[in-house]
Assembly symmetry: C2
Homo-oligomer: 354 residues x 2
């Protein structure tokens, strides 16, 4: 199927730019969708060309899971990725943190007039590659254009749908005193990578974002635990606000405290160095390819083994325990042996990090 | 559940403004979500407070339907609605045009620093009211903040999920020569309402947007046709680009032509007058509460009756037929008896209309 009458020239993907016509819903919109979005993201559902996609339903005995994320990261590309793959990974991960199998993505684009089409294509290609690698197609999309100065290149809102075995019910509200807190790998890489790009900082070692889809790791963890994933309470990816904020969210939702062991929290030396230089605490720096798991203590060894056996969890560690604390404080035993409260992020060290 | 330590003041919803902290993922983000978004949109799924919602799955014998829309309308409020209810109606309608029952919505917000919280709350309240009236809850959300001058008040991307009886398969590609084209009511109201607000025009009669959820009308139409909705080929809502563009899309997808009867296309006198004043053709002006149906000729009387019996289809009309035309032209027999081609929208008379 091609909508193009012979007298319409193909999009100039090398030198062209987004203009207001591309958002008007007429011929130029159809051309942008067909020659750029559908061509890059190509799959049977998107090719249907209707206003929504009609999709195989999840198997019986499951619950639907739905998650959404707006992506406004600046700059659009950074060491290790760009807004395109990030928009895929971030939403897949939100679905996966429910113990779910991500099935489908939908993506809405807000383009700023003047955005080079070559830049847009590179980002959509990165999105397509990430979606293919993850096995989760972008089945529906929408594109709008705003005037120059009313946006910032582009924003992408991604929504994911998946299914979870109805016997599995993970939630930030399910942690209880005595549970163990596991972390899948070293923290702070995404935030430091983005910030170094934004501020044109050079470190001795190039620090790359950890942006990655975690549904494979989650599947391996669930597999190890067996049907219903007994003993697993919570999965959460520590993105904006970093590990510290995520643990505070869980503590608040569950009405518990936590006690972390600083020595056990993996942070790469180069990230630690960059954070010192930038005046940041790596515990508050965003990650895009890590997860936190809270589980019953007797299940922790099994779960940790399963995590370490997976490429995305090789450096997984047991970083602390859940405590009985009506004040819901997250505390940390420091390297020097003291104890300090690890509070919520309250300032804003890193705007537009995802 | 409340996350708020005693020393945090409630949001100042009267005089406060969105600041960068509200997007940083820390305490200020949590407060904005809890005191504004969750309070207004309140439902059992959003209250779970996790990164995604866990939802009852659709019944057996169905297909999932997923649709997404970014909303960048300017101004944010207009006669008859605002970006909040529009974001709900638009996405419900995209799901419904698949013959589906809309079940759940997810909403991502991109807020511009400095947006008054009172304005944001009014929009979210309008969204909540529209979702409640439609019976389709907003079950997941996300909020990001961009610096002043990098956005335009707010953008909302809404994604909808629903289910459709697997025996029903509607598509813009299913129209065939001899089919009948039905329209649910008069065209052009949404675009004219937005434009009059934007340009501060005053007409003798206030023209309101037709923004409305159409899944009730669709359900009534499917009910009238019986199991599998035999004879119904296509449903489509003529939004951006108007009726003319939507019919051209269907003609292109199906590889057919169309012949419309100008005299049969309902346009309110005041909309016609405003369009003349503004130099617009009502056939190219956006609608947000109308649908086009293509069906087999023998089913048309039944379908038209069902549409007219529903509040959203009272003025439904048979506006033309599908023709055998390898050039896929949409043509119109004019009031004066001539014939003209109704081409795609190719200029851009109405930017940021939805």
């Amino acid at each position: 199927m091609s909508f193009k009458p012979d007298y319409i020239r193909p999009l100039d993907l090398r030198h062209g730019r987004v203009d207001m016509n591309h958002g008007a819903g007429g011929r130029a919109s159809a051309q942008l969708i067909e020659e750029l979005f559908v061509r890059e993201l190509d799959n049977e559902f998107l090719r249907q060309g209707d206003d929504g996609a009609r999709l195989p339903a999840p198997p019986p005995g499951t619950r639907l899971v739905m998650a959404t994320d707006a992506h406004v990261i600046s700059p659009l590309a950074f060491p290790g990725g760009d807004i395109g793959c990030l928009a895929v990974h971030g939403t897949i991960n939100d679905v996966a943190m429910n113990g779910a199998v991500p099935l489908y993505l939908a993506a809405s684009f807000v383009l700023e007039e003047g955005l080079p089409l070559a830049e847009l294509r590179a980002i959509v290609a990165s999105m397509a590659a990430a979606a293919r690698a993850a096995g989760v197609p972008v089945v529906a999309g929408d594109t709008k254009v705003v005037e120059k100065g009313k946006g910032d290149g582009l924003f992408i809102a991604t929504t994911g749908v998946g299914w979870v075995d109805e016997r599995i019910h993970l939630s930030g509200a399910h942690a209880r005193a005595g549970d163990v807190v596991l972390l899948s790998g070293p923290v702070g890489e995404h935030g430091v990578a983005v910030l170094s790009q934004r501020e044109s900082l050079e470190f001795e070692t190039r620090i790359e974002s950890d942006t990655a889809a975690l549904h494979g790791l989650v599947a391996a963890m669930l597999e190890a635990l067996g049907p219903g994933a007994p003993g697993l309470r919570t999965l959460r990816d520590p993105t904006r606000g970093g590990l510290a904020t995520t643990l505070n969210e869980i503590a608040r939702q569950s009405g518990v405290g936590m006690l972390l062991h600083e020595a056990a929290i993996p942070v790469r030396a180069e990230v630690r160095g960059a954070c010192e230089l930038l005046g940041l605490d790596p515990l508050y720096v965003a990650n895009e390819g890590k997860l936190v798991a809270v589980c019953a203590p007797e299940r922790a060894p099994l779960l940790l083994d399963a995590m370490r056996a997976h490429a995305r969890g090789r450096d997984a560690a047991r970083i602390g325990v859940v405590t009985d604390d009506p004040l819901r404080f997250v505390q940390m035993r420091t390297l020097l042996g003291g104890r300090r409260v690890v509070d919520w992020l309250s300032g804003e060290p890193l705007p537009r990090i995802c």
